[in-house]
Amino acid sequence: MHNSPLLRVNNITKRFGGITAVNEITFEIKKGELLGVIGPNGSGKTTLANLITGFVKPTSGTITFHGKDIHSLPPHKRVLLGIARTFQMVKPFYQLAAYKNLIIPLCSQRVKDMEGGKYGERDDIALDLLEEVGFERDSRVAYKPASILPQGYLKRLELAKAIALFPDLIILDELFSGLSLAEVASIIPIIEKLRVQGKAIIMIEHRLKELFRIADRIIVLNFGEKIAEGNADEVMESKAVKNAYLGAETE
């Protein structure tokens, strides 16, 4: 039972009209595992994230989480079961101060069940969470409205919003995009720490070098299909992957 997968995606397909965005993809992820998802633009990575989190409904196929079929649940119910995500285009609450952004996930039923709904202490929990993702404790940054924060902080805020939900599975949709090398380097330890805590992590990334360093396993998508799966070396050796990224060789 200990080795049974946390999340299992089984033959999932999503069609938008005539376009098949995701075609019969199957994979699973265990607790404490970091799965990388890569693929060229438009290969269906974000649609896959939306399918797992419930923002789009699958045309066919099933998704089981903690052994329970979730493919027809709305997004907020999946969060209550323990799936959290970040968005590729960050979605902070711009009119609120950075730490107040975290009050909203902290108001969810999942956190109430876990923490006993400590009303009035949410501000403190929020400030602690922000420190965890790299907001300096002594600075005023946490109190500034999200609308004036630079991109690096917004990405960290987005990550903190996901962590605030005590998730078992976190889906990071291009968390590294738009960040400098130094910023990426400072976020990687946070992700490593989450994995050590036993959380399963799915990272959708274009920054392959950084991803390959931390991922246990990679799956590669192209035109909505899974064309390869394995560790970083296996994936890079795969002919199908070379063709997808560099174009097919001609003799």
Partner: protein, 333 residues
């Protein structure tokens, strides 16, 4: 002795935001006067007014209540163009209960708030999936729909309306009931939006997808806001019914939809105090302009444009900012 200017609010803000300690009566006064003064003005203004202007004040209160209801919806990202729906439904719920069953106004008004609020919530719930202009357009249609329904089906007195309704038992209630209600809703809504649940509503306004992915069922929150806003709007309609002793199709008039929006925009959207201030400016202004006869709307429109161009954020945020920037001379040691 050298002197320099110093802002009053800085020290007070630091001491009162986190640790709730004030060091003098002057600080106490600085913090409490923006809250106490409006209450005193609203409650005692009527004593100094002629019966005609007391009538205007009643109108101000009713439009102030409708504006608060509008601003509550707006702060959750639902821009309503149909406040007259709440007003009309409240009026008809109270009017019919009084006319057909002889219920006392003390019974019809709370009933209209709760039942009318639930009724409006149920008919608006299918629309909460719509965003922005799509939600607004459908709210614009609903009051017209009910107006025509009553006309065509000849129900509840049809085009004639229901007349001879019971008045409130004491005449002073006709002025103080809406004024008190206005104050309660104003401070209640402000307190509510400052709570953690209010933050969730502001989050829905900013980005509903992000709230969904925070594990929150936004439909429950939106339903709750719809109920609060429509119950408050229904109160205004139910109350007016027992003042005019009449309920008819005019309760669905466009005025009840447009003026709350104009008040909010002039006063300051998203502050609750702004919309009330807007009603206190626009309703009397419209009365003063009556002497211009046919040109009234021209002047009224001109004032609206001037207000909005000069203070696009609204009057209340401007006053608030100036109050916070208030300076005094202090001696430099």
């Amino acid at each position: 002795m050298a002197k320099r200017k110093e802002r009053i609010d800085r020290g007070i803000k630091v001491r009162s935001d986190d640790i709730f300690a004030l060091s003098s009566w002057r600080e106490m006064l600085y913090l409490s006067s923006p809250r106490v003064l409006p209450i005193v003005i609203i409650l005692f203004l009527a004593i100094f007014l002629s019966p005609y202007w007391q009538r205007v004040l009643l109108s101000v209160a009713v439009f102030g209540i409708l504006s608060l209801s509008w601003d509550m919806l707006n702060q959750t990202g639902m821009i309503s163009l149909g406040q007259s729906l709440f007003f009309g439904i409240g009026a008809y719920f109270a009017g019919t209960m009084n006319h057909y069953f002889g219920w006392h106004p003390f019974l019809t008004i709370p009933f209209a708030m709760i039942a009318g609020g639930l009724f409006c919530t149920v008919i608006l719930m299918p629309l909460v999936r719509l965003r922005g202009i799509y939600f607004s357009m459908t709210t614009l249609i609903l009051p017209i729909f009910f107006e025509r329904l009553i006309e065509a089906a000849r129900i509840f007195g049809g085009t004639e309306g229901l007349t001879g309704l019971q008045s409130l038992p004491y005449s002073w209630l006709e002025l103080y009931l809406p004024l008190l209600f206005l104050l309660i809703v104003l401070f209640g809504f402000r307190r509510f939006m400052a709570s953690d649940y209010g933050l969730v509503l502001k989050g829905i306004h900013d980005n509903d997808q992000s709230v969904k992915s925070s594990g929150i069922n936004i439909n429950i929150y939106k339903a709750f806001v719809l109920f609060m806003a429509s119950a408050v709007g229904c109160f205004a309609g139910a109350f007016i019914t027992h003042v005019y002793l009449f309920v008819g199709m005019p309760v669905f008039a466009l005025d009840y939809s447009i003026l709350p929006i104009a008040s909010s925009v002039v006063g300051g959207v998203g502050t609750f105090a702004g919309p009330v201030l807007g009603a206190f400016i626009l309703v009397p202004l419209s009365e003063i302009l009556r002497q211009f006869g046919g040109l009234r709307i021209v002047f009224y429109g001109m004032f609206l444009v001037i207000f909005i161009v000069a203070l696009p954020d609204g009057i209340f945020p401007y006053i608030q900012r100036k109050y916070q920037q208030f300076e005094r001379w202090v001696e430099v040691k």
